[in-house]
Amino acid sequence: MTAQEVATAVPPEASDSFPADRRLEAYRTMVLARSLDDRCIALQRQGRIGFYAPHAGQEAALLGSAYALAPDDWVFPAYRELVVALVRGASLQSVVDQLFADSGDLTKGRQMPNHFAFRAQHFVSASSPIGTQIPQAVGAAMAARSRQAPIATIAYFGDGATSSNDFHAGMNFAGVFRAPTIFFCQNNGWAISLPRDRQTRSPTLAGKADAYGFPGVVVDGNDVGAVYTAVRRARRRAVAGEGPTLIEAQVYRFGPHSTSDDPRRYRADSEVESARLRDPVHRLKTELLSAHLLDEAGDAKIWEEARGTIQGAVTAAEAAAPVGPLSFFDDVYASLTPRLAEERAGAAAQVPAEARRP
């Protein structure tokens, strides 16, 4: 039985289909996500935030997977998953506060934009090193199982991350220990300037699961319903004790790798244009239009609302107080060590008076 066949062997259930009554809500979230992306790139260009890593082109994969999870599941993100946090209940304001690194930022201004952490949503702290979240998701899954919690963990990562040490270690541990983990690879065609085909000669990324003895499936990442179904089934397998699944969601990164990147150096505009024909936002809109759940006027309103909501959050973030000037000494350890207390006192003496105001 190949990996593909194993996955197909999980019997389908009605609950595997994306709930019809949430499609409009999903579209709203998708529009919010896309609008936020556009706005954040502009904010970065204007020097109002320091950095941004866009997710445009990956919204269906992000939303489809996020909707398929249960609240108690744990999410181990990379850096393009802010939509997942929103679906899980993180507020738009807290997301925007992280981008602005202001006093509303739950990560206390310590990380670059896009490196979120939302404890209440079981959305684990993101880091920059590629792939490190993968074995962590496996460990958390093993821990949950040992506590008899009927949950799954999900690790998000890109095509580039499949080359990382941590992918190999995490996948192998998951196979050996049959961890209830969903490996969700967003293959967006590029790892900065390296195209997928130069990343690995594996015919598909999903096929790499064979090497670890569990199923891998390819899914059209522009199809929110297809992604939802794939993740639901992987989740059922996981919770039923049948072990992990690797899902390769095939998407395309429309924008630059990040605001520091100039994609014209390594790919043709025409490639982007043809990928845009499969734009997941447009696709869901078309589906909703033909199902008469949406009309153009309603659509325009959704976009307008999204922009308004974002504007509100941005305005609030810009009005928010900065993080406290000595707050960067906190949380290194559970409590300040004597050495840090001394360093902090020294720094306090140096911090210019104006910065010390709250």
């Binding site: 074995p135 821990a143 040992s146």
Partner: protein, 325 residues
């Protein structure tokens, strides 16, 4: 009290910690069925089962990565790295993830993992079964670093490490695993982290050491005693957070200091000791600060006894401090 070897004391600490807290679990290579290549985990699989004593595939990245995930979820994993020399595949997980998780999440995700690893030379292990690279971890904010030198400390400090809220790198002097024996309290002899111990009091020179360097340092102190030199021996026990006060106080008293470790000298832990004293005990210093350390070469095999600091080298450095100036 029971007379135990150092490795037996480690084993007892693991038994005690796992009995008293169901969230404690172990993972590593050969820790289960085999009981650990040094038998530090002997008998644990039998008592606690395969969900809590986990034989892993050959991947330190996986061991520490999974341990981090377990800790995030709320368990208290104790990861074993078979030899400190093999920790580097896990280095990224340790320095980028484990050390920084609490910080980068703004305190939302504490991540308490104990990473145990036998370290050091003296067992004819050559380049890859002898290393002592504690300085890498000491330089990494967010980690605590602990090195016991006696069976009682091994048990007490390991219990404290497991109960601490922060990630701890727990380095076990493998050379002393069987050669160091001593009385170990039976109950719950937690030894607090962050406190050095004066092993021998003295007034002329402070010998500052830890781990497997304690026995030769004591031997040197004894020799010096016969020569009329009163050497104080400090066992640091915890390298991070360092008990700076005790170190400074000792040198304020003696005016002379020699730092001892088996790691290479350049940018080794002894440099931090010297820097600390050159800043905070400067006006008490009567002589240049000595360092007796491994040399700045990889760890050799045939000649390890010449590489490793021994009592004569330590005593010679103390004598140099006595006659300096």
């Amino acid at each position: 009290m029971t007379e135990l070897t150092l490795v037996q004391a480690v084993n007892r600490a693991l038994f005690d910690a796992m009995r008293s807290d169901p969230d404690v679990l172990l993972l590593g290579e050969d820790v289960g069925v085999n009981g650990g290549v040094f038998r530090a985990t002997d008998g644990l699989l039998k008592e606690f089962g395969a969900e809590r004593v986990i034989d892993t595939p050959l991947s330190e990245t996986g061991i520490v990565g999974a341990a981090v995930g377990m800790a995030l979820y709320g368990l208290k994993p104790v990861a074993e790295i078979q030899f400190l020399d093999f920790i580097y595949p896990a280095f990224d997980q340790i320095v980028s993830e484990l050390a920084k998780m609490r910080y980068r999440s703004g305190g939302q995700f504490p991540c308490h993992v104990v990473v145990r690893a036998p370290y050091g030379g003296g067992i004819k292990g050559g380049l890859y079964h002898s290393q002592s690279t504690e300085a890498y971890f000491c330089h990494t904010a967010g980690l605590k670093v602990v090195v016991p030198s006696t069976p009682a400390d091994a048990k007490g400090l390991l219990l404290s490490a497991i109960r601490d809220e922060d990630p701890v790198i727990f380095l076990e002097p493998k050379r002393l695993y069987r050669s160091a024996t001593g009385e170990v309290p039976d109950g719950d002899p937690a030894v607090p982290l962050g406190r050095a111990r004066v092993v021998r009091e003295g007034t002329d020179v402070s010998l500052i050491a830890y781990g497997a360097m304690i026995p030769p340092t004591l031997e040197a102190a004894a020799t010096l005693g016969t020569e009329g030199v009163s050497a104080e021996v400090l066992d640091l026990r915890t390298l991070v957070p360092l008990d700076e006060k005790s170190v400074v106080a000792s040198v304020e008293k003696t005016g002379r200091a020699v730092a001892v470790h088996e790691a290479a000298r350049f940018c080794g832990f002894g440099a931090e000791i010297a820097a600390l004293l050159a800043e905070k005990a400067f006006y008490s210093l009567k002589a240049p600060i000595g360092r007796v350390t491994g040399y700045d070469t990889p760890f050799p095999y045939a000649l390890e006894q010449l590489y490793l600091p021994d009592a004569p080298r330590i005593a010679a450095a103390a004598r140099a401090a006595m006659t300096a100036g």
